[in-house]
């Protein structure tokens, strides 16, 4: 039984959350069955819907990996949102100036710039935690707001183009990710391949390398790890930087694969979704891919639900309940064991 808890707890949490959300939908006088049917149809009902879901899933895998890697290393990176913004913003600044470069050069340079920016932004919080003990939850939230306002300034003044919604110019065609599939207006870029590769790299890094072992050891029991000769302060900064690089990459694939220019709405809460995804996926790269798919489907489906008069905020409520139950996983364990005990008695 113990082996399967990693799967059972998130699965039961999601089901319980969907049931509670059904009551919330009922409370505003709508039919939850109809609402969920619209949601499923919106996410998987046609080939365009499926492509849309995959496009939405792509950055979520990366923010999920970012937060999940942080959890494994013992840091709570609640700042994936800001790191994603900084990654996309820096990649934009680089990408719009690469018209002269051949694609392989432009692509790799833009990706690396974005990842470095995300890593650097997160490393500030890591460094502060290592040096002064400032809790990363407070510092990364502050960095989120600073990134939000900084990007808002950047697309209004130095990088501004056109009128209307503040936006940057388009990045060079050579810096756009190749399109794998096109259904109607929906384009699926190579971003999904990047995301899956990132998940594999994280798996190998955590399970097969010394660095991964040190990161996990430091996250599991910092005092024992320090005693065993692992530098905690170095590890905290490095873990935050790797986590931030993944979040930065999320911003990069969203920029190079979907919008091709920086917009204020580019991050749109995807960094925060990473927290739910990491927890549902139990911080395991493969689990995170599936959790991201679930969240991507919820996001795509909820857009359709919005047309049926049900606010898409319901997704946030579902996410919140899932995280709550995963945080206090003993509630779910007790629920399951209690049922079992009752069965045994009967």
């Amino acid at each position: 039984m113990e082996k399967y808890w990693g799967f059972i707890i998130p699965a039961v949490s999601v089901i319980v959350a969907l049931i509670i959300a059904a009551f919330v939908i009922m409370a505003v006088g709508k039919s939850p069955i109809e609402a969920y049917a619209i949601m499923v149809k919106g996410a998987f009902g046609s080939s365009a819907a499926i492509v849309n879901t995959i496009v939405k899933t792509t950055p979520l895998i990366l923010t999920g990996l970012a937060v999940g890697f942080g959890f494994r290393a013992g840091v709570f990176n609640i700042g994936a949102e800001g790191q994603m913004i900084m990654g996309a913003l820096t990649a934009t600044a680089v990408g719009i100036n690469l018209g002269w470069a051949p694609p392989y050069f432009a692509l790799s340079l833009t990706i690396i710039a974005g990842m470095l920016a995300g890593a650097g932004w997160a490393a500030i919080a890591g460094y502060l935690k290592a040096k002064t003990g400032a809790h990363e939850v407070v510092t990364t939230i502050m960095l989120n707001w600073i990134a939000t306002y900084l990007s808002s300034y950047m697309v209004q003044v130095p990088l501004a183009v056109g009128s209307g919604t503040p936006k940057s110019p388009e990045i060079a065609p050579s810096a756009k990710l190749p399109i794998l599939m096109k259904v109607g207006p929906m384009e699926m870029s190579a971003g999904i391949i990047i995301s899956v590769i990132a998940a594999i790299v994280m798996y190998v890094l955590l399970e097969k390398t010394t660095t991964g072992y040190e990161v996990k050891a430091a996250g599991f029991n910092p005092y024992a790890a320090e005693y065993g000769g692992i530098s905690i302060s170095k590890n905290v900064t490095m873990s935050m930087a790797i986590s931030g690089a993944l979040a930065g990459l999320a911003g990069v694939v969203e920029l190079m694969g979907v919008h091709h220019r920086f917009l204020g709405t580019l991050s749109g809460g995807k960094g925060f979704d990473g927290i739910s995804i990491a927890l549902i996926g139990q911080n395991h790269p493969i689990g995170i891919i599936f959790a991201a798919l679930l969240m991507g489907a919820l996001r795509t489906g909820s857009n359709e639900m919005q047309f049926a008069g049900i606010s898409k905020h319901i997704v946030m409520i579902i996410q919140g309940i899932v995280i709550f139950l995963v945080a206090a996983d003993r509630i779910v364990r007790t629920m399951i064991l209690w049922r079992k005990r009752k069965k045994v008695k009967a």
Binding site: H135, V137, M142, H313, M316, I331
Partner: protein
């Protein structure tokens, strides 16, 4: 040089001091709530979510009943309810307190967004006139708690800065003093601190660790929700989606900087409130011309100040020893 002159001018303007008070008040309440919770050993990052619910609930009741004080009262009730959820997960079920707090923030953001249309008839932000039209209400509604006049000479500096003031601002300082008195001068406070420092020892001495921790967390719900309600019915009279805008986390920073002491947290809140007021006043200064596209840079100021202060000073403050660690009573 003009910039320096503009900065000095901000400090000479009484309005800066009155805005500082308005900007600090939500932080004072929320950080006091944070102190109550963490002194007993429960980390409560849900403050942001509780504040948001407080702002929402108080606006809703102020609009429907026409009495903002009923709004405040109901905000407190709901605030205690959400805080109980956090207490239940972290005390009874030994849940991860930071993750549970994050969950509650998400639930609060989700519920307030979800209920905008059913409750106020519009999304984004509330508009009292439209609300009255939609709900066919004809009577006058005053959604803002009436400020009171203090006996300062009207044209004096003090009169302009603090002459008209919301009773909630005064109540904030009173609450801080009462909070400090409870935590440091009463038996209950001694128990709270002992449970936060060494729950095993407190338990051995017959203190009910769980009950004291529940008390601490529920009190944080009371104060954080008033702090949130101040943003709506205490100040602007409207509710905006996500209107707390990170203030719950700035309040946490104030609590840390204030070394988990209500009075320290109050001074830290005033510092962060002053930085918000400063940015606000400087960008509207007549001595320098600030185009609207540069305004985001000014909005960054409170967050940068918080980051620097928290990164630079935190090593010198110390959290309660058992802060964030669930207490597992041995059977």
């Amino acid at each position: 040089m003009r910039v320096i002159e503009a900065i000095l001018d901000v400090f000479r303007n009484p309005q800066f001091y009155s805005i500082t008070l308005t900007a600090s008040t939500p932080l004072i309440y929320a950080s006091l709530g944070g102190v109550f919770s963490e002194v007993t050993g429960v980390v409560n990052i849900a403050l942001e979510g509780i504040m948001l619910m407080g702002a929402f609930v108080s606006t809703a009741f102020a609009y429907y009943t026409g009495n903002p004080w009923i709004g405040i009262l109901m905000a407190m009730v709901v605030g205690v309810g959400i805080a109980w959820l956090h207490a239940w997960a972290s005390i009874k079920w030994w849940g991860d307190q930071i993750v549970s707090g994050t969950a509650i923030i998400l639930i609060a953001q989700g519920i307030t967004g979800f209920l905008m249309k059913p409750v106020f008839g519009q999304v984004g932000q509330t508009d009292l006139e439209k609300f009255k039209m939609i709900k066919h209400i004809t009577k006058d509604i005053n959604p803002i708690i009436r400020p009171i006049k203090l006996p300062f000479p009207e044209n004096s500096f003090l009169g302009q800065a603090f002459g008209t003031i919301s009773p909630l601002v005064i109540l904030a300082f009173v609450s801080v003093f009462i909070g400090w008195f409870i935590i440091y001068k009463t038996t209950l406070g001694l128990r709270m601190r002992s449970v936060g420092e060494n729950p095993e020892a407190a338990d051995t001495l017959g203190v009910n660790v769980y009950r004291i921790r529940y008390f601490g967390v529920l009190m944080s719900g009371v104060f954080a929700s008033i702090g949130g309600a101040f943003l709506s019915v205490g100040d602007t009279g409207i509710f905006k989606e996500l209107m707390t805008g990170g203030r719950g986390f700035i309040a946490l920073a104030a609590m840390i900087l204030g070394n988990w002491n209500p009075i320290g947290a109050m001074f830290a809140s005033l510092l962060f409130g002053a930085s918000e007021a400063f940015a606000n006043q400087l960008q509207s200064s007549k001595l320098i011309e600030v185009s609207s596209s540069v305004k985001p840079l000014f909005n960054m100021v409170p967050f940068i100040v918080t980051l620097i202060v928290i990164g630079g000073f935190i090593g010198k403050t110390r959290p309660p020893a058992a802060d964030g660690i669930p207490y597992k009573k041995s059977e």
